[in-house]
Amino acid sequence: MDSSNLLSIVTFVYGFAAILYIAAWIFKKTFPGLLATWTVLLGAMGNAAGIIMRWVESYKLGIGHAPLSNMYESLVFFSCTIAVIYLVIERTYKNRILGAFAMPLVFLSIAYASLSPNVNDRIQPLIPALKSNWLIAHVMTCFFGYAAFAIAFGISLMYLLACGDKKGKGYLLSHFPKPAFLDNLTHQMVTFGFLFLSIGIITGAVWANSAWGSYWSWDPKETWSLITWFIYATLLHARLMRGWHGKRIAYVSIIGFMAVLFTYFGVNLLPGLHSYAQ
């Protein structure tokens, strides 16, 4: 079995976990939720094992490099990061309804990698521009940031759902965490994501300066990461200094995540230096 096979299996494990979380939420049962937690743990371990296997396989092919060099590899890493951060949150706050909103994102990410005909899962040699120690630091920090923003997005959706139901009588919302808690958690995830997005942009700039001789070239991917940074900077300032809370913060967080998605996928439609990320 090679890493691609293992990661295909992980896709279904994550899909199963997502269904379990949603079932646990809708039917208000503890058992599917408990099972879901263990399923995600299993999936995340398989996911990590798949990444390590792929790393080893690349060395066996004689083109050894960290498996963070193209769309397939980044999607696989993305799903692993969201899953791990989610597990930490679940353990810290003892709430599994969050899983019904976070796990589908994990599943979608790896499913797109494994199943889409547009995403090539072959291990390819590194082009000269990517041969750098900055590759690991840059890609990892960016995806920690993206993953935190993804979870903030899921929580913001929950917040808007919870607020849509003013009287608190909705069947699905009766066990929902308190809006204030969700609002706080969104903020926490955004600060975490903002730190890593900043480090991701910084490592990217330092790398660009050693590869191309310029730390900033207004390439579409750079620009979109900066747009994302501006949006989340707005969120932090509006919340801390102007006391924005609740719905407005949730909307900004959702818009921010749309910018993340565009930085990640949309930019490939535009011409620029990051064309190898396709």
Binding site: F194, S210, G213, W218, P220, F230, M241
Partner: protein
């Protein structure tokens, strides 16, 4: 007197305008929104391309707004400048208050404020006051940088705090943003960006600037000793490598191989491997076969210099080398083009594509020309930059990361333990506040109180 008032009034209104967080939000969102334009409309292309793609009206409209180089346009720079002033004014505005809080000699504690906290912890103990006081002071000293114990009417209290300085974190983040913008400014004033192509074995001492296309002389010369390119089995490029020598006063002072991601830096100037290409050949060896006799003649010749063709047919000259050539709609690739001048006065164009050795057979002439060999050299394409602002930008990066860590994950935490003698027992209250992450502080206070209760 009135005028002075007016100008003071104007200044204070300007200050107020820039001290607004609403302005920050507007500026950040405007920068985000306008930045999108430059990712959708390709930047810094030739005017002809734009004209072709957008038509006359939009071409004029976009040109007037500098959309084709929008990140350097006056209006984008104004947005950046306003953000800078906004950051500076906001920071100064709040810094004086924060400064007084941070650099206080004896941190003030108001015990009554801790008493009214909703999340305070309370328990009772049987131990004598003095005993508790020593134990609590010891426990607090392990966790908090500053503490003091005060005698009260009915007992004592221990006051402790740490992380007062973290209140300055946000100012360091703002400082880092200013450093980044300053570094960018220094780079754009004192730096340059250019390129140069150096054929193998040759030396240059000037480059062409990318913006103005002007020639820029360097203080030293660069020689390309060697260039090589290697490919993976898939055909994708594996490595571009140039061996460069730096030459000063006619002497080679430094030799280094550069590849992508490993540039050469010398006297503040950076040389990056950017691209490469084939040099047009200067010498070519031809096989000339006579159709009649079957004899093959090998002739070495320079491009542009006519030679006598064997068997007294006339003269032949190679006029040109093309990287790509189309013959009747068919792409032949790299091709030499020559002219055969026959003695009878006829001139015949002869194409010698490198990929099709027997191409000239199809002409059905009495002589068949083909390329036996030619000199093929590479030139290396270097990106040459000088940016004295990089150090400032990099220090901005470091300050930003440290600042974000402090601002987001560290807080000014204050703790108050009040111990009161009531009858034979002592009542203990533990309460704490933090300026950030209040939930985390609640958990810490609870934990700490439980530990104290066990002492």
């Amino acid at each position: 007197m009135k005028k002075e008032n007016e100008s003071a009034n104007f200044f204070s209104r300007l200050w107020k305008f820039f001290a607004s967080i609403r302005l920050t939000v507007v500026l950040l969102l405007s920068l985000a929104a306008t930045s999108i334009i430059g990712t959708v409309i390709p930047q810094n292309q030739s005017p002809a391309d734009y004209f072709h793609n957008y038509g006359e009206f939009f071409y004029n409209f976009f040109s007037a707004l500098n959309i084709f180089d929008m990140y350097h346009s006056w209006w984008f720079q104004i947005l950046l400048l306003m953000l800078t002033i906004n950051v500076i004014v906001c920071s100064l505005n709040r810094l004086s208050t924060t400064w007084k809080i941070v650099f206080v000699k004896i941190p003030p504690f108001n015990v009554s404020k801790f008493r009214i906290l909703s999340n305070k912890e309370e328990f009772t103990s049987n131990r004598p006051l003095e005993d508790l006081r020593n134990k609590y002071e010891q426990a607090v000293s392990k966790k908090y940088g500053y503490y003091r114990a005060e005698q009260t009417d009915k007992g004592f209290c221990v006051l402790a705090e740490k992380g007062r300085w973290t209140r300055l974190g946000v100012y360091t983040v703002h400082l880092s943003v200013i450093l980044l913008l300053l570094g960018g400014l220094i780079g754009s004033i004192f730096g340059f960006e250019g390129f140069v192509n150096i054929p193998e074995g040759e030396t240059v001492n000037s480059i062409r600037l990318r913006k103005t296309e002007q020639i820029h002389n360097l203080d030293f010369a660069i020689r390309c000793d060697d260039f090589s390119v290697s490919f993976y089995e898939t055909g994708a490029p594996k490595e571009f490598r140039s061996t460069l020598s730096i030459i000063e006063d006619g002497r080679s002072v430094l030799q280094k191989d550069i590849i992508v991601n490993h540039p050469l830096r010398y006297k503040g100037i950076n040389l990056f491997q950017a691209n490469y290409g084939m040099l047009p050949p200067e010498e070519i060896t031809l096989n000339i076969m006579s159709r009649e006799t079957g004899m093959v003649y090998k002739k070495k010749m320079k491009i542009g210099m006519p030679i006598e063709v064997p068997e007294g047919v006339g003269t032949f000259v190679v006029k040109d080398y093309r990287n790509s050539f189309n013959y009747k709609g068919i792409a032949l690739g790299e091709t030499f083009i020559g002219i055969l001048n026959r003695k009878d006065g006829n001139s015949i164009n002869i194409m010698l594509p490198l990929n099709f050795a027997s191409f000239d057979k199809m002409r059905k002439g009495d002589l068949i020309f083909s390329v036996a060999d030619y000199d093929n050299g590479y030139y290396t394409g270097l990106q040459v930059t000088c940016d004295p602002g990089v150090l400032v930008v990099y220090s901005g990066f470091v300050v930003m990361i440290i600042g974000c860590l402090v601002t987001f994950f560290m807080s000014h935490q204050r703790l108050c333990i009040e111990v009161i003698k009531s009858g034979s027992k002592t009542k203990v209250m533990v309460a704490g506040t933090a300026n950030k992450n209040k939930l985390g502080m609640q958990a810490r206070v609870k934990n700490f109180s439980q530990n104290l209760a066990k002492l």
